[in-house]
Structure formats: structure tokens, C-alpha cells
């Protein structure tokens, strides 16, 4: 099996207008900057972006927001130092925002990848973020029912990959990348190093079954 794609342009070619798109990363770590830049060139718009943050400065998701490609952001923490493009689009009413507690975001994504119909979490019970959601009391404790969150595409970043799409990660660049790889119909991986040899099966964090294509993009950050 060979899931390698020659370049970033070809890797992001399948992304269509109006797609839901998971983007890995937390802060500046583990973001697929190469794929995001290629997507900007590719031109897909009306995107729903699912990510922990909403970009900072003039890089990554901030570039997509600046270019007006994003219709909706689903994230836990849109407001970070330098998140000017998100704030600009949000204040102008040009982008919708769904704020999801970070653990609920990760678990909704995992549920989608694992074929589950949702889960009950104590997170947000009794707060504004649980309004309108089903709740249930189990052994005296309140829980909120949360639904799975799938996506059409995921853009993820890993440290090493092989022909089979197996991935391993570096430090805190792992974050949302493995769980997003599971949940999208079409997961596109950017790796710092594409290995000619198969990765050691013991070191594989994301098995290739979750990955549609893998492309090398060396630059860290």
C-alpha cells in the first residue's frame, strides 16, 4: 500500500467548498501549516473549521479567516494572544462560533471516529454551554448528553510517517492530531519526515487505517 502523495497541493485537492474540516494543533504546536497554506492556494471556501484554537497572528487558521474562507469555527478557545483575524471576523458577524469545552470537543471527535452515538459527560452541567441539551442524573450526579462530531476532512501534522500512513508524533505536537485522524472521512497528514522504511510497529501512534494520504513537509512551525 502506498498512501504517499507527491506534494501538498495534490494532498488538499479533494477539499470542497462548504466542507467540514478538522485541523490539528494546539497553540502553535502540531499545526499542519504546510497543508493550510496549500488549502489557501487551492481556494476552498465556506469551510467549517473544527480545531482547538482559531489561529493567531498571520499564520495557520488565521490565514484562512483573513482570506474569508471560514463560515464557522467550532473550538474550545478562540481567543488567544494574537487571534486578531478571528476576532475581526467574529465582531463583523462574518463567522459563526460554537464554543465547546476542550475535553468535550476531543471526546465528541473520538466518538465520531469510534462509531459511537454520543456520550454523557458531567462537563458543563448546569452552565450556559449545556443549555438546550439533554441531561440525565446518574447516582445523584448531573450529566450532559453530547453528540459525536465527525468531519469531511482532517488536516493533521505528525513527526514521522510511512507509505502505509502510519504516524508517530513529537512532544506536545500530538494533541488533537490522532483523534482527528480517526474522525474524518478523509484524513490528510503532513509529516516532518516521510520514512522509506516502515515505522517500527511499536512506535506507531496513529495506525495508517485512519489516514488517507501522507505528504512530507519538513518545516517545524
Amino acid at each position: 500500500m502506498d498512501k504517499r502523495v507527491k506534494d501538498l497541493e495534490r494532498a488538499v485537492a479533494p477539499v470542497i467548498d462548504g466542507a467540514s474540516l478538522m485541523i490539528g494543533g494546539f497553540g502553535s504546536s502540531g499545526i499542519p501549516f504546510g497543508l493550510i497554506d496549500a488549502l489557501l492556494e487551492q481556494g476552498a471556501s465556506g469551510l467549517t473549521v473544527i480545531s482547538n484554537n482559531a489561529g493567531a497572528g498571520e499564520t495557520g487558521i488565521a490565514k484562512l479567516l483573513k482570506a474569508g474562507r471560514v463560515a464557522k469555527v467550532i473550538c474550545s478557545y478562540p481567543r488567544t494572544p494574537g487571534s486578531i483575524w478571528f476576532e475581526k471576523r467574529f465582531e463583523a458577524g462574518e463567522v459563526n462560533l460554537e464554543v465547546v469545552p476542550q475535553g468535550t470537543l476531543a471526546e465528541r471527535i473520538r466518538c465520531a471516529g469510534a462509531g459511537l452515538g454520543g456520550f454523557l459527560t458531567p462537563t458543563a452541567y448546569g452552565t450556559q454551554l449545556a443549555e438546550g441539551k439533554e441531561t440525565r442524573v446518574i447516582d445523584g450526579r448531573g450529566y450532559v448528553f453530547e453528540q459525536p462530531l465527525p468531519a469531511d476532512f482532517a488536516l493533521i501534522r505528525a513527526e514521522r510517517g510511512d507509505n502505509w500512513g502510519n504516524l508517530s508524533f513529537h512532544a506536545t505536537a500530538r494533541n488533537f492530531n490522532p483523534v482527528m485522524a480517526m474522525a474524518a472521512k478523509h484524513t490528510i497528514a503532513e509529516v516532518r519526515e516521510l520514512s522509506n522504511d516502515p515505522l517500527d510497529p511499536e512506535s506507531v501512534v496513529t495506525p495508517g487505517i485512519f489516514v488517507k494520504s501522507v505528504t512530507e513537509f519538513e518545516v517545524r512551525l
Binding site: F26, Q102, T104
Partner: protein, 216 residues
């Protein structure tokens, strides 16, 4: 009366005070902002393992300039190092640790704390300002001991320790203890109970800056 007239603790002193109450062998999550200062003040001889929500146990000190690993950051997005015994993991495992009761103590900042332990630290009433919850709601439901570390009052002098919160809640009845520049207070079924006053502060002065009643 302003806080400046009293012997308020500065941020480092407050962090050191919180660190005194973290036992040897604890797994601890530090919220973004001022709580991150706590790790620098762990008393000698104690090993405390710091968890960072973005997928790390064993957060170590800030790296020497020039040795930063751009993909080794904490929840505040600061460059960090890995302490001996550290581990990396993905997000759903990280939040399983938080919600699943595996972390012993979390230290968080707050906009408001109510006398019943309600915490408000993720959104204000200003709707033009995008809210940002991050991992706070997951931490407060899963971590058995929640320490809040904050200024006793807002910049304009208005109280942050209230009878009930006016801002949207992060969690209901979740705060265990509050450390401010003026006092340490436990949240009890009866309300805030004084643990200690900062040297040079009187109960009368501190009560005047607190909306809720302080029990002694």
C-alpha cells in the same frame, strides 16, 4: 480603602503560598496565567508532577534561551521542558485524566467565586467579546480539589468573592479553597471560612472587600 494600603501579596508570593499546600507526590494541573507561577515554588524535597492539558505529564522548567523546542509547549503556550519521568499523550487521554479523577489538584484563576463554591472564569457578560472555555469546565468536574488563585478584588475595587456569581458559571459548587493577595479562604457548606490573613491585613479590612460573609 484600597488594596495598596495593605500588605497584599505579589504574584510570586501568592504562588509560593499556594505551592505550600501541594503535597509531595501530587499530580497537579495549573490553569493558564498566574497559576503557572506555582510550579516554580514547590518546596524543596517534594516531587509534584504537573499535567498540561495539551498532552503532557511532567512539565519541567522554562528552557534556556536558544534551546526551546517549538513543539514542546504548555497550556499557556509557553515553551517548557520535559521533567524526568515525563510522558506525552493525545487529547482524549489528557482529558480522561482530568475528567476521570486522576489529577489530584487544579489551580485556576477566576473572575468570580461564590460562597457555595460556584466558579466563573470563562466568560463575562460582554457579548461582543468571544468566550473561550478551554479545559476549565472539564477540570472542575473531574479534579477533586480545586484551588482558585486570584486578586481579592477587581481593578476597580469591586468584589470577586460573592454571594452568587453574576458571570456565566464554569462549574457549580466546585471550588475547595481560594488564595488571594489578602487571605486564604475555604469553601464550606456554610460559606467562606477564613484560613489565614496575609500579614498586616485585618479581618475587618478584608471583609469590607468581600461581598460574601467571611466566617471565622
Amino acid at each position: 480603602m484600597s488594596v495598596m494600603t495593605m500588605n497584599a501579596l505579589d504574584d510570586a508570593q501568592l504562588a509560593a503560598r499556594v505551592a505550600q499546600d501541594i503535597p509531595d507526590g501530587s499530580y497537579v494541573n495549573l490553569g493558564i496565567g498566574k497559576p503557572t507561577y506555582v510550579s516554580a515554588h514547590v518546596p524543596k524535597g517534594r516531587e509534584v508532577i504537573f499535567h498540561s492539558e495539551n498532552g503532557m505529564l511532567g512539565v519541567g522548567p522554562t528552557p534556556e534561551p536558544g534551546t526551546e523546542d517549538l513543539e514542546l509547549i504548555d497550556a499557556s503556550k509557553r515553551y517548557v521542558t520535559a521533567a524526568p519521568g515525563a510522558a506525552f499523550f493525545e487529547h482524549s487521554d489528557s482529558f480522561a485524566m482530568m475528567r476521570g479523577g486522576h489529577i489530584d489538584i487544579a489551580v485556576l484563576g477566576a473572575y468570580q467565586v461564590a460562597e457555595n463554591g460556584d466558579l466563573a472564569n470563562w466568560a463575562t457578560l460582554d457579548e461582543t467579546y468571544p468566550p473561550a472555555v478551554g479545559g476549565a469546565m472539564d477540570l472542575v468536574v473531574g479534579v477533586p480539589t480545586i484551588f482558585v488563585m486570584m486578586r481579592h478584588v477587581n481593578r476597580d475595587g469591586s468584589p470577586k468573592l460573592l454571594k452568587s456569581c453574576s458571570f456565566p458559571l464554569t462549574g457549580l459548587g466546585v471550588v475547595s479553597r481560594v488564595y488571594t493577595d489578602l487571605a486564604v479562604l475555604d469553601v464550606t457548606p456554610e460559606g467562606f471560612r477564613l484560613v489565614e490573613l496575609t500579614d498586616g491585613c485585618s479581618l475587618e479590612e478584608v471583609q469590607a472587600m468581600t461581598e460574601a460573609c467571611i466566617l471565622t
